[in-house]
Symmetry: C2
Subunit: 300 residues, 2 copies
């Protein structure tokens, strides 16, 4: 990667600005109860890296669309991610008080409102994705394929299924196979859906979608291993959550399985494999490749 020519930091800042503006528009409606809208926006507009929307955008750009062409789907992925955090933080689930350095949604708005804010965000994600059909260069057929892709990844065979398995293994030490399975469902499925949806909306061929899929699977693995690394070796002021939480919860992590150094090595290996999957695109693949490198270099 040619650093002076390709500035990932600038790219991320630009795309994040577009995404944040669109999320702001998509998370308000004239008939929404004000307190509900407030709770939804409290969690949705709390910053965050916007990784999933940016993966949608970068994949679509690789095949000739612009960020604005795929903005509805990009924002839908962030809404689904946010709803899952709100519900995961509930007292009956992980019972977390802090998220991104701020009190969690139910701490501020109460449990009932947090459940409903999550429900409304998930529903709004699909309302917004339906708008994707009106982008001329996308059209209803590709838009619906993206809806199917995202819904599958977010549901019982994907993210929600992963959360269920995670809860079922609570208090027990999962082995490597089970740990990989939980993460590939709980966080990996949505990363894959983001990258694949970007490709689908842009009309990428099956061979391209397969490459994107290989990239996204390794990207997700790298991301998750690095998350576990940050939980042990990260700076709480930067990650916005307590350090050592996984160990306290007796959870298996990649660090508890491999040790810190080996976990770091495996994260970087996965990132390298993600990059390899896109080598055929040469220079054009720089954003997705740089994103994979960024993920195993981040401090939060």
């Amino acid at each position: 990667m040619d650093k002076p020519m390709h500035d990932l930091r600038q790219y991320l800042a630009d795309r994040r600005r577009l995404v944040d503006a669109a999320l702001d528009r998509y998370s308000a409606g004239p008939d929404w109860p004000p307190r509900l809208a407030e709770a939804m926006r409290y969690s949705l507009l709390a910053g965050g890296k916007r990784l999933r929307p940016i993966l949608v955008i970068a994949a679509a750009e690789l095949f000739g669309l612009t960020a604005n062409d795929v903005m509805p789907t990009a924002c839908a992925l962030e809404m689904i991610h946010t709803y899952s955090l709100i519900h995961d933080d509930l007292p009956c689930m992980d019972d977390d008080d802090l998220r991104r350095g701020r009190p969690t949604c139910h701490k501020v708005y109460g449990e009932a409102m947090a459940v409903l804010a999550g429900d409304a965000l998930l529903t709004q994600a699909f309302a917004v994705m339906a708008e994707q059909a009106f982008v001329e260069r996308v059209g209803p057929e590709r838009a619906l394929r993206a809806v199917a892709e995202v819904a599958r990844a977010a549901g019982a065979a994907g993210m929600v299924g992963g959360q269920v398995e995670d809860l079922e293994w609570e208090g027990r030490r999962a082995g490597e196979t089970q740990l990989r399975r939980i993460h590939s469902l709980k966080t990996g499925a949505l990363f894959r859906a983001a990258v694949r949806a970007g490709g689908l909306l842009a009309g990428a061929a099956d061979a391209d979608l397969e490459r994107l899929d290989r990239y996204a699977a390794q990207f997700g693995l790298a991301f998750q291993i690095w998350d576990d690394v940050l939980d042990v070796a990260g700076d709480a002021a930067k990650t916005g959550k307590g350090v050592g939480r996984d160990a306290k919860q007796q959870k298996s992590t990649y660090v508890s399985l491999y040790g810190l150094d080996e976990a770091r090595r495996r994260a970087r290996e996965a990132a390298a494999e993600a990059c390899d999957a896109l080598s055929v695109y040469g220079e054009n693949g720089w954003v997705l490749r740089s994103l994979a490198e960024y993920v195993v270099d981040r401090e939060s």
Copy 2:
């Protein structure tokens, strides 16, 4: 209505059988965690009148499609209805132990699983609706209009918004305007989406959609007033829930506002107006008209 020629009871039994079989297929997947699938199916396949799917079907049939043509959307509406019941019953919401005469989902599977079963049903509803595009006589364009319609009705400007307003009025006596608003959002929006989606999928013209909308609004009102009547004057063995729950919860109802006789009269008036909205279709409109009459005659 010519009773000997048109047998609503037979119609309902036939369509319910089709809907139940499709719901059974749509609520299972090879990769779903078994306990999650069980919790979803416990609530989804617990019987029930299947009114929303049947409204989708009846509206689509009026414009030349068959029940099977619109089965994905019909089932999606029931999944969304069921998820909303599971979440509404949670301890942090209405805290109900019984539903359709059986322990509620969280009583059987625990709170965390109930939240996730609801999330998975809502997500699966949209996965299933995406399949609607593959019905040749429907196609992706109409399928996406139906997705938009259903998502809007289920979200912050519809059902979830209504649940929020309902919670906000808890313990206070809402006046007639507020009561109508809460119900038109909380239950009315999904009835309207069901009927309109049926019409949209069948390619009904705007004037037809307007008639369907007027029908559905009055249908929803009739349904809700009658629900309040059953809460006071119903037979607990038939309704499957306790009698007098609304009064205990200090909730405004149509009965507390109007008295029992006047509430009955208004329910029947709304049903008659629903029928009037479809008079232009003559004989072809018999199913939807009979459904409106059934709603203010039911014992559960």
